[in-house]
């Protein structure tokens, strides 16, 4: 079969050369649909990043009764820390809280206005999962009503972010399937044009005893080359524009949680390139198979 691969590859290149401008248009079409696909992947990755970032900032504040002793506080802290969904517990004494508060509102000159510290001691409870915040807050409030004055949490935002992330995930999955099919459709039809241009040749090959495998070979190589080239063009485009765009955003909003992780970005670009290769190959297979039948060929007189 080594001889065949040589034949396939040289045929594929001959055909690519012959098709000229047509091939450039086809590759551009493939590149554009892969860019749409890649933009979508980048958007999803960033949305997930933002969701993760916001979720990691979620916390419960447990405001403690003034009457608690130091050992009671210590025991309570241990009890909360041992809950499986709790990541960490930090004790914030009322003095520290007051200092922080005063620092945040320096202009008010609070010392002059308020004589004694009005804030209670509190725990800052961080969670592993944003979804658990509401449940845990309610639990703490009910179970320890004797110790606890109040429980505050950012649960409403947490729930929304969670929902948004879920929507992005499932809606995104549907969109990925749709975009993949759309790209495949475009590739099939693009390669179909080069197949149709060579229908006579295919017919003659079939008549002199070529197998379908043999006829598909060059077209599949051609599809693969087109897919990889289109994918490469799409990746270069995505790479430069994402860099430009992300840098611009970061200049405006310095701590906006965009994806800058090289590995994550590279894996997205790899997916786009791989998709180009796979869709190019598959598209060629489908579009050439439409022209392949051993029987019922018209034999013109």
């Amino acid at each position: 079969m080594f001889g065949d691969s040589f034949f396939f590859i040289s045929e594929a290149f001959t055909s690519l050369k012959r098709s000229g401008i047509m091939i450039i248009i086809s590759i551009a079409t493939i590149a554009v649909s892969l860019i749409v696909f890649g933009v979508f992947l980048l958007l999803t990755a960033n949305l997930n990043n933002i969701a993760e970032f916001v979720t990691s900032k979620l916390e419960i504040r447990v405001y403690l009764n003034n009457s608690m002793t130091v050992s009671e506080i210590q025991n309570f802290k241990t009890e909360i820390a041992e809950m499986p969904s709790v990541k960490s517990v930090e004790f914030i004494s009322k003095d520290i809280a007051w200092d922080v508060f005063k620092k945040s509102f320096q202009k008010l000159e609070l010392n002059d206005l308020v004589g004694i510290n009005p804030l209670p001691d509190s725990f800052k409870v961080s969670m592993y999962n944003g979804r658990e915040v509401k449940k845990v807050a309610k639990y703490l409030e009910d179970k320890f009503s004797g110790y606890v004055d109040d429980v505050g949490y950012t649960g409403h935002i947490a729930e929304r972010i969670e929902m948004l992330a879920a929507c992005a995930k499932y809606g995104g999955l549907g969109l990925v399937v749709f975009l993949t099919l759309a790209t495949l459709f475009i590739i099939v039809n693009t390669i179909r044009l080069t197949v149709l241009a060579r229908n006579d040749e295919i017919e003659i090959m079939l008549l002199v005893g070529a197998t379908k495998y043999f006829i598909r070979g060059p077209f599949i190589i051609e599809g693969f080359i087109m897919g990889v080239t289109g994918g490469g063009a799409a990746v270069s485009f995505l790479y430069f524009f994402y860099l430009l765009f992300a840098t611009k955003i970061q200049e405006t909003i310095p701590f906006f949680p965009l994806v800058f992780d090289k590995d994550k970005l590279n894996s997205i670009y790899a997916v786009v390139l791989l998709l180009g290769a796979v869709l190019g190959t598959l598209g060629a297979y489908i579009s050439v198979s439409k022209s392949l039948s051993y029987e019922n060929m018209r034999i013109r007189k």
């Binding site: 001889g3 065949d4 034949f7 012959r18 006579d200 040749e201 017919e203 003659i204 090959m205 079939l206 008549l207 002199v208 005893g209 070529a210 197998t211 043999f214 051993y294 029987e295 019922n296 060929m297 034999i299 013109r300 007189k301």
Partner: protein, 225 residues
């Protein structure tokens, strides 16, 4: 070599193109298939190399039933049957050499064998000087000869020709028929569908006459009428 048994062919539109054909053709035979336009000559040839399937009855080539031949086997059947098409079916953007070599590439021949066999066959049909030309640079008779060269380059046991002299002048037609006789003499079964009364009467062979999809005459060394 070829056995045709109560063969019927009805096209998808319901037209009955062949009706109750029985025919035996031995190895080494040279047969003319004659009959007016629409008699069913091309249809019969198409059934022989499985471009169409029998509606009922069967065709056996070397005892292989074409009716039950799996699709996947069709390419291998075709490699045993060379076909000369009336419209030549040459690739315009390939040279004479490449057009003939094409048939061997399809059969996975090695490069040195392709070069050797194509050169030999082009000598046989008298085109060795025109190897690097494109088909459009050749005359009708020369193009017909490329087509013959391609059909016989792998020495198939059977050669089918659909009106090989259809568009040629009498002298060229006669040369082409001499070439086909020569190929027949190399132990190849040759079947020629033709309208060419002059040729059939001149170069006497077995004649099978078709009319409305039936065989109306089958005579050794017969004439056109």
């Amino acid at each position: 070599m070829i056995r045709i048994h109560y063969l019927e062919k009805e096209y998808d539109n319901g037209f009955l193109a062949l009706n109750g054909i029985n025919l035996h053709i031995a190895k080494d035979e040279f047969v003319y298939l004659v009959g007016s336009s629409g008699a069913g000559k091309s249809t019969l040839l198409k059934l022989l190399f499985s471009v169409e399937k029998p509606t009922s009855g069967d065709v056996f080539i070397d005892s292989v039933s074409l009716k039950t031949l799996p699709s996947k086997q069709i390419p291998y059947l075709r490699r045993n049957i060379g076909v000369i098409f009336q419209d030549f079916k040459l690739l315009p953007r390939r040279t004479v050499f490449e057009n003939v070599a094409f048939a061997l590439q399809v059969m996975h021949y090695q490069r040195y064998r392709i070069r050797k066999q194509v050169t030999q066959v082009l000598e046989l049909v008298g085109l060795q000087e025109k190897m690097s030309n494109f088909p459009s640079e050749l005359s009708g008779g020369e193009q017909q000869r490329i087509c013959i060269a391609r059909a016989i380059v792998n020495n198939p046991p059977i050669l089918l020709a659909d009106e090989p002299t259809g568009s040629l002048d009498p002298d060229t037609s006669w040369e082409i028929m001499q070439l086909l006789s020569k190929i027949n003499a190399r132990r190849t079964t040759v079947i020629v569908a033709t309208h060419d009364k002059g040729i059939v009467d001149d170069i006497r062979k077995r004649v099978v006459a078709l009319e409305n999809g039936r065989i109306i005459r089958d005579s050794e060394l017969g004439s056109y009428n």
